[in-house]
Symmetry: C2
Subunit: 392 residues, 2 copies
């Protein structure tokens, strides 16, 4: 087991009607003027935004609003948010939405607290933020796990780059998680969420490490639970149990619990970031589903025991010890079939990617042939291109 | 799934040599003068205490010392610690030890930060602490889980009462967990630790709740991992993997992760607190082992499905659907046999309890026949006495 630091300070308020506490909670963090940050119309249409405003007003909190966050949140809106917060003396950022809104809110909070640094330097990792504004979220989508994670992923539309950076400054102070707020998430987006949640932990699970059986077992719990919850929520969007287990899995899958003692990298995420960075209409989870099996088939020989464990403990496959690869291939196929069963793509072609974009994708993913992705198998430009081609 | 709040802000530094960072870390929390709080001679003899002092001096931190914490930490030493800290202007409390030292340190930190309140009022739950001193721990025993928990258990030797209280003020700011520091824990204490760790999660697992399959699965992961790690560590005290998984399980078993969405109570702990409150030489884990199976046999009929899940998912027992109680009884027996296999008592007699003390134990545990313990089956004085007698 490797040494590790585990620090998940986000305070989670989980369950029905918890969002009504938001004003009181913000005041506990010293907020006096709030930026309410949100995405498209759903938070407005559902009446959630009005409820939030009422809760803030009820406790005497002032606020300004900034909507319009797109899936794959973009740098220009972050800049606009920073400008607005500084102009309006905002001292608390409240995200109302899913991962994109949360990431945009994180970047705004970091930008406001560090006015002398161009915020994109954080994404480029040339500077690490040392301070941030207090911030919280009312979660409306179980998917990205950003509500408890240290991660923030921002897309620069000028370059088509979608990049993430990790920092303790990216931890939300609180996350309000009412599973009922996800009842209206449609089947496709629910499926994308289930893929994304499971993938946060599956990626960690397949990182190098030894003697982490407690962590492994917890990781398997998260993966299996979300595979089940995803299907149940798709079949019955108003299934509280499914929505609740899926939402809680979203937070645990990406808050670092599931890689304690193992190395940490998210290679399939890197592949996908290029895809949805270039084709911004693609939902992250769908991109991950289209890529995972090809990544797995490309790398599994580098650590067959780990894939056997996955086969046995996640997919309940009896291991064929005389033909272990057969077991591994079967597990990868079962995972792929699961994606198909919930309406997810399992190839880039299905996502409308043009074949001539595969080389540019590999080029971008390798940072112009300079980056090698970590893992049991190191993946450079040629490997990346092979995987993109396999996934086509 | 019930609503819940999840908040585990403790920052964990896990792994080999992490204790050397202690000075630097304390300074991050603003400490300038430290109380080093410890127990018996082992931290002294092993040289750990000297290393800690050197680490503090290296970064210019002043300190005072207070050793002598006994297993089942006592109120008079807490009072002495508070007095010392106030006299010496201590602004940071560092526990070097296991659960007893940590709980004593927590109570001292709460007492120092609230000089106008008698510290025992917190334990009596007549007042809840609203503030505390920054505090951290270098953990030397995997057992109590106090390093990440909100709990603090103190014994009043005048009355023989051993009582716990929960508060966010009881969360350590940081926990340094180097599994190597537990290599010298003897077999008996290692076994007691394994019992205590698993019990923190088993108690939560048997609390009322529904639709918490993610939480359940994580709980089962923690229980199974510590059952394995405990045996491995007893068989080979220098097995890093065993010590590491056991230590990490200690933290996760009691930091609230394993009851998210379920009710929370620790009934077997309440039974045991009276035993080791009255017989202070008894180690908590041994007391728990002596009591658990009797508690389980007394209550299981109130929720057979839950015990079947335990039988199947923890002990891999094929369920006899036509005779479900048989399966449950088998699982309880397997848990009991496990205790025997690691040298733990499975009756109060083995612990040297006098039969005439059973009634006083039930009387104390029921707070003079006024308290009823929560759970699938409510347990009043008569039930308590029955269970103590069954466990004899």
């Amino acid at each position: 087991m490797n040494n590790f630091i585990y620090h998940t300070p986000t305070k989670v308020y989980f369950g029905k009607d918890e969002e009504f506490k938001v004003g009181k909670i913000i005041k506990e963090y010293g907020g006096t003027k709030v930026l309410i940050h949100y995405g498209g119309g759903s938070a407005v249409k559902s009446g959630l935004l009005d409820r939030v405003k009422e809760c803030l007003s009820d406790v005497g909190l002032e606020y300004v609003e900034l909507g319009g966050v797109k899936p794959n949140p973009e740098l220009p809106l972050v800049r606009k948010g920073i400008e607005l917060c500084i102009k309006e003396n905002v001292d608390f950022v409240l995200a109302v939405g899913g991962g994109s809104v949360i990431d945009s809110a994180k970047d705004i909070a970091n930008g406001v607290a560090n006015p002398d640094i161009d915020v994109y330097e954080f994404t480029k990792k040339t500077v690490a933020p040392q301070k941030t504004l207090p911030k919280g979220v009312i979660l409306t989508l179980a998917a990205a796990g950003s509500e408890m994670s240290a991660s923030c992923v921002i897309t620069n539309p000028e370059t088509g780059e979608k990049r993430g950076y990790n920092s303790v400054c990216n931890r939300m102070d609180f996350a309000i998680e009412n599973p009922e707020l996800t009842y209206t998430v449609n089947k496709y987006q629910t499926a994308c969420g289930a893929v994304d949640i499971a993938m946060h932990t599956m990626e960690r699970y397949f990182c190098p490490g030894t003697d982490t059986y407690l962590t492994d077992s917890i990781a398997e719990s998260v993966i299996k639970s979300v595979l089940k919850a995803g299907v149940d929520a798709i079949n019955n969007p108003y299934d509280y149990s499914a929505r609740a287990n899926m939402m809680w899995a979203s937070s645990l899958a990406h808050n670092d619990l599931t890689h304690c003692g193992r190395e940490f990298s998210l290679p399939v995420h890197q592949f996908e970031h290029e895809v949805s960075g270039m084709y911004t209409e693609i939902t992250h989870g769908a991109g991950l589903a289209a890529l995972w099996a090809s990544w797995a088939r490309y790398v599994y020989k580098a650590n067959i025991p780990r894939f056997l464990q996955f086969a046995h403990n996640v997919w309940n496959i009896d291991i064929d010890f005389e033909n272990q690869e057969k077991t591994v291939i079967k597990a990868i196929k079962m995972q792929e079939d699961y994606y198909k069963s919930i309406g997810m793509p399992t190839s880039l072609k299905e996502l409308g990617i043009k074949p001539e974009d595969l080389e540019p994708l590999a080029y971008k993913c390798s940072f112009g042939k300079t980056r090698v992705l970590d893992g049991y198998m190191k993946l450079g430009y040629d490997d990346m291109l092979n995987i993109y081609k396999m996934a086509y």
